[in-house]
């Protein structure tokens, strides 16, 4: 009697878990069916997206994933004999979650290249693993300068790092003739790093105004300080949500200084958050304006029925580099990594060619501004 | 019978505090429950007020089964208690404490002030302390306040739990005097006491509780003369 109960209970538990496995197991979009014909043949290769798809930073990851999706879809259409799959590793941008995902990617031999990791924090936590496993990565968005100096052979990025972006911003602010510039950051690795570079670059023209809490709501102490200092320009290193709140509160508080931001603010979310206070703000970005490549813009619109958002084009270039390697007959991580070393091609955003540290050759910094509630790319580029 | 308790069983966790007690209070009577600490007196009172759940048995009030109804419904029916340790709200003034007695009734202000006057007539000391916080009163005053508060609800049955506890002998006599005069106004009283002599003198009838059972009952004077009761509760 007792024995049968034990059996029944365990059978029930196992049954329940099996149902869970059967019904939820397959959530990746890998599709590796090989079809006959075409120029290139390959079997069961995948490139992976690594970054946040859900969670607070999910939007950015979704942009990147779309760029990868587009590149792979175009490749698969052109090469019926080589259908490349996509694996998505959703880290939620959290360095604590990233290692278990990275190990999974490393263990999956069919993954031959990674577009990502999307953020600098998670990059530090897992790039060492990819390096040891020889799994090549091209990040479309992690701009922390340190990343290129870790000696990782597998590291590449598809855009300029903050050590290029920072001076670009300084150049722009100086060119605009601002004499007293408040420098604010959000105390994040990205924002503070950039703000420090900008502050150092501006020298005597900079007024240090410390950090704000991006999750907080009230920035009146900073507004008061800006008013008191009588600044004619303000640079904020951080992301768009906080930038929007800050811009609005500065405007309401009667501060009329010219606002400068960096790539983390290049999102319509900034305009939504700031409202009319966003007008005239200047946003610098190492990313190309969306209309800089008409073909890409048209293809993206056709596939997703929307404009490409920040980093979608960089992700497209990153994925394209891997796909070109596959097209060249490279079928494993080592030869793809080797291929990237000599890669030199005009991407949709810039010339994609890496130096030995993995920094990309084309490192133009672009200036955007907000006009009538829309982001407008300025033709006068710096860089 | 005004209140009838039949075969009441009540538990505290796993401990059975009342093991099947039965008793009753007739209209106009003073009935007292006496017994040592832990005999179940206070449990009985709380169960009648409805703040302890009944495991078995039933409680009737004016012939109606009230075993399962909520405490505030019982107050509406006319059962009100001045709890053990007085249960004064320390952060409320004497007036506010008294007005808590009319909580269920709501009541018009004119009625309320008439009731207040009545209580002040019984307990003139409370009138002097009317704006003082309950927590600052002396023990005797707090006891008066607790009784006065219960009276504010215009009860038909007044439950008094240890009204003499911790009071000086002179005050005790005064309290019992007041209990009698309340009774004379037509309010029935169920009185729980450790001070058995005074209680038995005041009561029409009495029950002796021992570890969850009723072991003896009779009129107040009968039990006063009972040698066993004298030995156990009246100090020989």
């Amino acid at each position: 009697m007792k024995k049968s109960r034990v059996l029944r209970a365990s059978a029930l538990l196992i049954g329940l878990s099996l149902v869970g496995v059967a019904c939820g197991g397959d959530d990746t979009s890998s599709d590796t069916t090989a079809a006959a014909g075409g120029d290139v043949t390959c079997d069961g290769l995948k490139i992976a997206f690594f970054g946040a798809l859900t969670g607070d930073a999910g939007n950015l990851g979704q942009n990147i994933k779309k760029g990868v999706d587009l590149a792979v879809a175009e490749f698969n259409e052109a090469n019926p004999g080589c259908q490349v799959g996509i694996e998505a590793y959703d880290s939620q941008g959290d360095p604590a979650q990233a290692p278990a995902l990275a190990d999974k990617a490393v263990a999956d031999a069919s993954v031959v290249g990674i577009v990502g990791p999307a953020f600098s924090g998670e990059s530090k936590a897992v790039n060492g693993k990819f390096d040891e496993a020889g799994l090549p990565i091209v990040t479309p968005s992690a701009t922390n300068p340190d990343l290129a100096n870790q000696g990782w052979k597998i590291f590449h990025r598809a855009l300029a790092g903050d050590d290029k972006q920072g001076p670009g911003i300084v150049q722009k602010i100086t060119a605009d003739g601002k004499a007293k510039v408040g420098v604010i950051d959000d105390n994040s690795e990205y924002g503070k790093g950039l703000a420090d570079i900008v502050q150092a670059g501006l020298g005597a023209a900079a007024v240090e105004m410390n950090s704000l809490d991006p999750e907080g709501s009230d920035y009146s102490a900073i507004v008061t300080a800006a008013k008191d200092a009588g600044v004619d320009g303000i640079f904020f290193g951080g992301y768009y949500a906080a930038a929007g709140k800050l811009a609005k509160q500065l405007k309401d508080g009667g501060v009329d200084a010219q606002l400068y931001f960096a790539d983390g603010v290049l999102d319509v979310g900034f305009i939504e958050a700031a409202g009319p206070a966003a007008e005239g703000s200047i946003i610098m970005c190492p990313c190309a304006p969306k209309d800089s490549n008409a073909d890409f813009l048209a293809a993206f619109k056709a596939k997703f029925n929307e404009d490409p958002a920040t980093y979608a084009a960089e992700a497209y270039d990153a994925a394209t580099a891997f796909l070109d390697a596959i097209a060249a007959g490279k079928q494993d991580r080592a030869s793809i990594l080797e291929f990237l070393k000599t890669y030199d091609k005009a991407g949709v955003t810039k010339q994609i060619k890496w130096d030995e540290k993995g920094e990309v050759a084309g490192n133009a910094i672009y200036a955007y501004t907000i006009e009538s509630g829309a982001i407008v790319g300025k033709p006068g580029l710096i860089g | 019978m005004l209140l009838e308790v039949r075969d009441l069983h009540v538990f505290y966790g796993r401990i059975e505090a009342l093991k099947g007690i039965s008793f009753g209070v007739n209209q106009g009577e003073i009935v007292t429950l006496i017994g040592a600490n832990g005999a179940g007196k206070t449990t009985t009172m709380r169960t009648i007020s409805g703040v302890r759940t009944v495991a078995q048995g039933s409680i009737f009030f004016e012939g109606r089964d009230i075993t399962g109804i909520a405490p505030h419904e019982r107050v509406k029916l006319g059962i009100c208690q001045a709890p053990e340790g007085r249960g004064i709200f320390p952060g409320m003034t004497v007036r506010e404490n008294l007005e808590m007695g009319t909580y269920v009734r709501g009541g018009k202000d004119s009625q309320k002030s008439a009731d207040l006057e009545h209580v002040f007539h019984l307990f003139p000391r409370l009138k002097e302390r009317i704006d003082q916080n309950g927590g600052t009163l002396s023990g005797g005053e707090q006891q008066m306040l607790a009784i006065g508060r219960a009276l504010m609800s215009r009860p038909r049955l007044l439950l008094l739990d240890e009204p003499s506890m911790g009071l000086a002998p002179m005050l005790i006599a005064q309290i019992f005097q007041i209990v009698r005069s309340i009774n004379e106004e037509g309010i029935s009283v169920l009185l729980v006491e450790q001070n058995a002599t005074q209680a038995l003198r005041a009561a029409n009838r009495a029950y002796v509780l021992e570890t969850g059972y009723v072991v003896k009952s009779g009129s107040g004077s009968e039990l006063l003369d009972d040698p066993a009761v004298r030995a156990a509760y009246l100090g020989g």
Binding site: A9, L12, S17, P95, A100, K124, E189, K192 | -
Partner: protein
């Protein structure tokens, strides 16, 4: 009775039956049999990285999208260690700590400072220092605040955890928001390589730490100290009246809890090699507390179960994507409504509930 009620009852009955069956079989075993059962169980745990290879079991335990072994080494073992430590504070001594992540952070940061950013000691040397530093922090927080009661202590500990995180974020000396990387790994022993890619050695090391901590805490629980803690939890005033030096024992609970939390931090830092302040958010403190209470606060095995569930389930439920946190929240409410003492409640009556008079205070 409707079918759902009936099947709920049946599941309950089968589970109870299974429990009773196991218990009776356990009781029927001789000492050698029991010992071999223990050994087999421990062995099975050390072999956990290969569970995914077993046909049926594998498909049940494997985590979709993440490496099962890394989940074990980076999440589960860490959470179990933390839950064991926090259980001393919350479950045994009854002190509500909402800032436990602070000690975890102190352990991790001390290791990071000593092996990477300000010195280059080997990990093995950083280990005892980090534990000691965490303990000191436990005393630093405990000494001024343990006189506060219940919920006041909760908010103060919460504040303490935040002060530690924000200080790490703002102090350049601690790496600021950039964090600290290149933290040394534990030394490789023979074939056991503590490298970057293979998580198995870290899991084994962590599991060994769990057993060691369990052994020490078990000894402590059944000692004079353990009885004093329980007395404090049950009724602090009574314990004080009986001569238990409540302050001293509360401080001990805090220090020991902090030490175990610090140990978890050391293990984490040594494994991942990179930490930054965002690894130690306030939310993690709350998750730790949820683990202890969910499993059964006051019961070591309950705390372990809670630690496993809170760290493993989100990974197992990855196919819920961004709904898993919602599921977790609902599950917390449901468990508390129907099992308010946790999944494995502390045993009542098997241990003396209060210390004998005078016992606790004796020097």
């Amino acid at each position: 009775m409707n079918p759902v009620v009936r099947s709920l009852r049946q599941v309950g009955a089968s589970l109870a039956g299974a429990k009773a069956g196991l218990a009776s079989r356990w009781n029927a075993m001789g000492p050698t049999q029991r010992l071999s059962a223990y050994v087999l169980g421990v062995l099975a745990l050390y072999l956990a990285p290969w569970w995914t290879e077993i046909p049926l079991l594998g498909s049940i335990v494997d985590t979709p999208g993440t490496q099962f072994t890394t989940v074990l080494s980076d999440r589960v073992i860490i959470f179990v260690l933390v839950a064991l430590g926090l259980n001393v504070v919350v479950g045994l001594a009854g002190l509500l700590d909402l800032g436990y992540v602070g000690f975890y952070a102190v352990g991790a940061y001390t290791t990071a400072i000593l092996t990477s950013s300000h010195a280059s000691l080997p990990w093995l040397l950083a280990l005892p220092v980090s534990i000691a530093v965490s303990m000191v922090f436990g005393v630093i927080l405990g000494a001024p605040t343990l006189r506060l009661r219940g919920d006041y202590l909760a908010i103060v500990t919460l504040g303490f955890g935040e002060i530690i995180r924000l200080s790490a974020k703002n102090a350049e000396w601690l790496g600021g928001s950039r964090g600290i990387n290149d933290i040394k790994h534990p030394p490789s022993i023979g074939p056991l390589k503590f490298g970057v890619v293979d998580p198995k050695p870290y899991y084994w090391l962590g599991l060994t730490m769990v057993f060691a901590v369990m052994f020490l805490l078990h000894r402590l629980e059944n000692s004079r100290v353990g009885r004093a803690w329980v007395a404090i939890r049950e009724d602090e005033d009574a314990a004080e009246l009986m001569g238990v030096d409540t302050f001293r024992f509360k401080l001990w609970a805090f220090a020991i809890g902090a030490a175990v939390g610090g140990l978890a931090g050391v293990q984490y830092a040594g494994k991942v090699g990179f930490i930054n302040p965002d690894n130690f958010p306030l939310l993690l403190s709350i998750l730790f507390l949820a683990a202890v209470v969910l499993g059964g606060s006051g019961n070591m095995h309950g705390a372990i179960l809670g630690g496993i569930l809170v760290s493993y389930l989100p990974e197992r439920l990855r196919n819920f994507q961004d709904k898993r946190v919602f599921v977790f929240g609902v599950a917390l409410v449901l468990v508390m409504v129907f099992r308010p003492e946790g999944l494995l409640p502390k045993k009542v009556g098997t241990r003396k509930a209060v210390a004998a008079p005078g016992e606790g205070g004796a020097q």
